[in-house]
């Protein structure tokens, strides 16, 4: 499988296939299907400084080829995570990526500080969280807002930081550049698109929280375009995601400029998908006599 070996920032992964935050629990939920050691890496569910119970009401809603979710970052908080879940994640024998969210810069900083003492591969900094200080507009919408949190986190973090961009950013390229300039070591994109559903019988929004996050195959063409645009404008490595469900999809993202890719919603549809994608990429490299999958990164 050495053709798939991928270096991302300073982490060497067995392959470029990572499972996305919020779709894979804390790494153990799919062990009935396959050994997570086969994966390039595992992103934890989004963790915040303090425990969060998540959102009330309906949390899932299907749309054509898409899924709206309003989980609301339900998680036990960084301390319980480190205590209870991280050790298990570390025993999975794959790259461990911890996804960190927060509503204030201090929350991000405290979480990152606590992780400094831990054995992880790197941090995925989720800046799609509503910034309570700026009227609830997510850190990931305006480049300046993102730059502030990224540069502060960068200063104190012992670990490499991959910033996870929101496709709702006003300008995805400026956002990416601002993160790079603020010290991001890598980028992942995209998080979910803000979407909505209405229950016409009740004449109400489906979600208590009004809007929710759209993921799944529906968003793939837009996510792919964003990865391509960002790749052309930054010099740090990119993890691409958004609707990937086959190895062909994965290869499209790699050709668009992603060094590695993540599988999110597809885990729900086909639990074996990450493994099938790894096998498909491996076979493609073999058939094309390519020594390293890295040769395809950004060829388009």
């Amino acid at each position: 499988m050495s053709r798939l070996k991928t270096k991302f920032m300073n982490t060497v992964m067995k392959n470029p296939v990572v499972v996305a935050s919020g779709t894979y629990g804390y790494g153990e939920e799919y062990v009935g299907y396959y050994d997570p050691a086969l994966l390039g890496g595992v992103c934890s569910k989004g963790i915040t400084r303090y425990p969060k119970p998540g959102n009330d009401g309906i949390r899932l809603w299907e749309t054509p080829s898409g899924l709206l979710n309003s989980i609301g970052l339900e998680n036990p908080g960084i301390e319980v995570f480190i205590e209870k879940h991280l050790k298990k994640m570390n025993s999975l024998n794959t790259a461990v990526i911890v996804n960190i969210g927060g509503n204030t810069i201090d929350e991000y900083l405290e979480s990152v500080e606590l992780l400094n003492g831990c054995n992880i591969d790197f941090i995925e900094l989720n800046i799609s969280c509503p910034n309570v200080k700026v009227g609830g507009m997510a850190f990931g919408i305006k480049a300046e807002s993102a730059a502030e949190v990224v540069s502060k986190v960068r200063k104190i973090s012992k670990h490499k930081i991959m910033v996870k961009l929101s496709p709702n950013a006003e300008n995805i390229v400026e956002m990416a550049k601002a993160c790079e300039d603020s010290g991001a070591d890598g980028l992942s994109l995209v998080n979910t698109f803000q979407g909505m559903a209405i229950d016409i019988d009740k004449k109400k929004t489906v979600f208590d929280n009004l809007y929710a996050g759209l993921s799944g195959p529906a968003i793939k063409p837009i996510a792919l375009r964003m990865v391509h645009q960002v790749y052309k404008n930054v010099n740090i490595p990119i993890m691409g995601l958004g609707g990937i469900s086959t190895w062909q999809d994965a290869l499209e993202f790699i050709m668009a400029g992603a060094t590695a890719i993540q599988i999110g919603t597809t885990n729900f549809i086909n639990p074996m998908a990450p493994i099938e994608i790894i096998q498909g990429l491996e076979k493609y490299c073999e058939e094309n006599n390519v020594e390293s999958i890295g040769e395809f990164v950004g060829v388009v």
């Binding site: 919020g22 939920e29 799919y30 119970p53 998540g54 309906i58 885990n267 729900f268």
Partner: protein, 235 residues
């Protein structure tokens, strides 16, 4: 990938689906079913109605797109079964049992009754079934088990005789399970309820099926679907 053995319309829009399955499973567990690509996107959770001789049986009602597509399956067609998932009902060895099912909630109770008798043929089991209209499944229950009480179109909770030395297992509309849980608590009777939530992953990974309990949030798919009735915080 599994093979459909039979998929027959039981009545109106209620179907009974039999599928080859070589693994094992427990009463109260469910499978996520799909026989489509991406439309709908997610698999559909359906309880185990019966299991024997390498064939698992489901009883389901056509509600929307997913169950509609399931209803089109024919013998020999291919279906994807993910599971069995969930904790299932507790395998109580000694206790006498009261089972209460409402609507499609009667489905998991069929396999539960069977299993409970299997592990202890001498126990006493009372079965209450609340359905909107007479149907062949009710007859099946009556043929297979003694002490089946049926309420057609009424309110099943009004019929239940709460017996102190029984454990109650229940599955059905939330309001039904809520009333039984409360009454059970009042009378000091242990009640287990099987909750129904929208599910994406079925394995505890997405937190889409969270259920509020006195012990904090629980995942209906993984920590449940069976919980102690008194632990559930009904909405």
């Amino acid at each position: 990938m599994a093979i459909v053995v039979e998929n027959e319309c039981v009545q109106d829009n209620m179907y009974s689906l039999s599928v080859e399955y070589s693994g094992s499973c427990k009463m109260g567990q469910f499978f996520m079913l799909r026989c489509w690509d991406f439309d709908p996107l997610l698999s559909r959770p359906i309880s185990i109605y019966d299991f024997r001789d390498g064939i698992v049986k489901f009883l389901y009602q056509v509600m929307g797109k997913g169950t509609e597509k399931l209803s089109k399956l024919k013998a020999q067609d291919v279906i994807t079964l993910q599971g069995p998932y969930g904790n299932g009902f507790p395998y109580l060895d000694e206790e006498d049992i009261t089972l209460v099912g409402g609507g499609m909630g009667i489905a998991p109770l069929h396999y539960a009754a069977k299993e409970l008798y299997r592990i202890n043929p001498n126990r006493h089991i009372e079965i209450y079934l609340g359905v909107r209209e007479e149907n062949p499944i009710i007859k099946q229950f009556k043929d297979e088990f003694p002490n089946v009480k049926v309420n057609i179109g009424g309110i099943i909770t009004e019929d239940i005789e709460y017996k102190k030395d029984h454990v109650i297992l229940t599955c059905g509309p939330e309001i039904m399970m809520k009333i039984i849980s409360e009454e059970g608590k009042n009378q000091g009777i242990t009640v287990y309820t099987s909750v129904e939530k929208r599910m994406a992953c079925g394995v505890g990974a997405c937190l889409g099926c969270t259920c509020k309990t006195t012990k904090g949030n629980k995942r209906a798919c993984k920590d449940g679907p069976v919980f102690l009735g008194e632990e559930i915080l009904y909405e």
